[in-house]
Point group: C2
Chain length 391, copies 2
């Protein structure tokens, strides 16, 4: 069994959160890294004994590297993914896949042309309770899926942000960053193409100039509907609805109310960028503590004809016709193992991934449709968006 030699493009917070899963996978070896920060590269070389590259193209030219994991800011995903695929590397790229449907289509086309694997993740669509929920729905034992209700109220907009994270034209705001999760979750659960999106997305805070909240009604081609609501300006914390477990699967203390807003109020713009940077690899960022529960993306209820399924970070509550039953899910050994497994299985065993380029493209079309619908105050069908892009 040959291990996959994986190069890392971008040693930021995303890499930190995925690192435990990368280290644990028996068939993956970290083989090199590219980042703009020499300190992060030095730390990478020291910790993993493999080279840090100051130029991405030097990493891509390294013939010992089979595949890359791209965890850079959203606006770089497209060019870096296409360059890597053309260099013959398989690619795992963080969500959102890119910042436009056209870019996503070009990435999917590059994967096809190169014959290399492209997986978009991690996202909460990989969460174990989502995978199990989708299996239960697809089994048909509860009848047809009719409605998915997804809510998430977070302090996303009040956490330290880089400038581009608050600039929609550069993939900022919660639609690209957070709706990409919620749409991945409901698409996987329902298992039907999204036929129409009617949404509101808005900026409620002039000091954080991007869409920070949305609500969207998604109609699926098979007749199901999903209602998605997200506020990144929230004061209410919907983690109370999932047993006070944080998005990353950690216990959460409700007494730490308003911490993000309090911290942000003390920071200058420069401080804010530094606070964000301090959480990255090689700059003081630390590996996440082992999480006792699975990651999650808020309250998710799947209404089928003969049961409702409530997805929790600890399992699935199945509310059936006669009885309710909790299906526990074993705690994760490390977070985000599923995305690394899906990627490794695709590259090493040629198993077709769920979250391939077409999947990411379709999710991005939904995000774009969400923003268009809000602007037009009308339904937008996301499917022609991908066709117009040549897919």
């Amino acid at each position: 069994m040959t291990a996959l030699q994986l190069g890392v493009i971008g040693l930021g917070r995303g890499f930190m959160l995925t690192l435990p899963a990368l280290l644990r996978h028996p068939r993956i070896e970290l083989a090199g890294a590219f980042d703009l920060r020499p300190g992060a590269l030095a730390r990478f070389a020291e910790e993993f004994g493999r080279p840090g590259y100051a130029e991405m193209n030097t990493l891509l030219a390294d013939p010992t590297i089979d595949a890359v994991y791209i965890a850079t800011p959203h606006e770089y995903h497209a060019t870096q993914t296409i360059a890597a695929l053309r260099a013959g590397k398989h690619v795992l790229v963080e969500k959102p896949m890119a910042t436009t449907v056209a870019d996503c289509a070009a990435m999917a086309a590059a994967a096809r042309d190169s014959g290399r694997v492209l997986v978009v993740g991690p996202s909460h669509g990989f969460d174990e309770q989502v995978r199990r929920g989708a299996e239960l729905v697809a089994s048909g034992c509860f009848g047809s899926v009719r409605l998915v209700t997804a809510l998430n109220f977070t302090d996303f907009m009040f956490r330290p942000r880089r400038a581009e994270e608050l600039d929609s034209s550069r993939g900022g705001g919660v639609v690209y960053s957070q709706a990409a999760h919620q749409i991945d979750v409901v698409r996987r659960l329902v298992g039907q193409p999204v036929a129409s999106v009617r949404a509101m997305a808005a900026n409620w805070d002039a000091t954080r100039p991007s869409e920070g909240a949305y609500t969207a009604l998604l109609s699926f081609a098979g007749g199901a509907t999903a209602t998605l609501t997200y506020s990144g300006y929230a004061h209410y914390d919907s983690d109370e609805l999932v047993g006070w477990v944080s998005e990353l699967g950690q216990p959460k203390d409700p007494a730490r109310y308003g911490e993000a807003r309090r911290l942000l109020a003390t920071l200058s713009a420069g401080d804010e960028q530094r606070a964000k940077l301090a959480r990255t690899f090689g700059a003081g960022g630390t590996l996440p503590n082992a999480a006792p529960h699975h990651e999650h993306f808020g309250f998710i209820l799947v209404s089928c004809e003969r049961a409702d399924l409530k997805l929790l970070p600890t399992g699935i509550e199945v509310y059936g016709d006669a009885t309710r039953e909790f299906i526990p899910i074993d705690p994760p050994e490390v977070p985000r193992a599923a995305v690394i497994e899906e990627f490794a299985d695709a590259v090493l065993d040629s198993r077709p991934p769920i979250h391939d380029g077409k999947w990411g493209l379709d999710t991005m079309a939904c995000c774009t449709a969400l923003l268009q619908s809000s602007r037009l105050a009308a339904d937008v069908d996301p499917r022609p968006l991908t066709i117009a892009s040549g897919e």
Copy 2:
């Protein structure tokens, strides 16, 4: 101070639920009743010492009666309300106001022409936490209201029903019966006209042939949005989100899972009608126990710029920028006191009611827009519906 002499039209379950508030109000006296069931009339005469009328018109011709409370099946509301107004009576009519926008417009016009008071209620728009929440929003101290999230998952469709309650053409299904509540709640909280409705309403159960679930995105003229979700087929019970308090303000035992479906499975169609009838006045129905909490209509979260407000049957949780604070609300002395007060104040003190004919008409236009939007798969503006009806 002269007491208002109130005639009751329809001694069903609605009357039972409102009776404690009628009995407690110092300026209201029950003065007569009309019902099709002689037993109910006899019981009324015995209990209140006032006549039961076998014909509605005889009641309306009684000059000692100032006002009537109409609590009959939905399809009779329009003709009975208009007849009562033309007979010079003030009218309190149960929600839904009627079963078509045209009927509601005719009722509002009849009230205007007669110079009599018309109030539509009770509905959960009268709930004390909704009134207080609307005051907090209107105060502006939390900035603009941006988003209301309203969820209710109930077993409405599995409770014993009369035939017309499962026939949409006769005002059956959850849109007329339940969306009328949820729309009343969010309209009062937001305080802006509804400019557009995009919705899905569907029948998921061929044995209960009416719309039993919906989800709707409401856009308000002032820029706010509300997302309303209701399932009357639910297995999940959203009363868990409000501290296991029932819609009627009673403590709820989660261990009694699935009771409505189990009972219904044992009933023939004839049994089902009898089970429904058994809950009415004069047929074994009993007064509700004193409720320790306010009535409510599920999970309701109001997102303003600087706070989220969560409405509970015990008070309002205010999630502010720096702190969260629970504003307790005194328990009700009797349920539904607010609607009786609003009606009595309007009749006796000429205080303009909030929930007048125009209010009820606008809510019905939203219900109709909800059904139309679901059929057309497009936005429907409810305002022209009322204009087309001459309002």
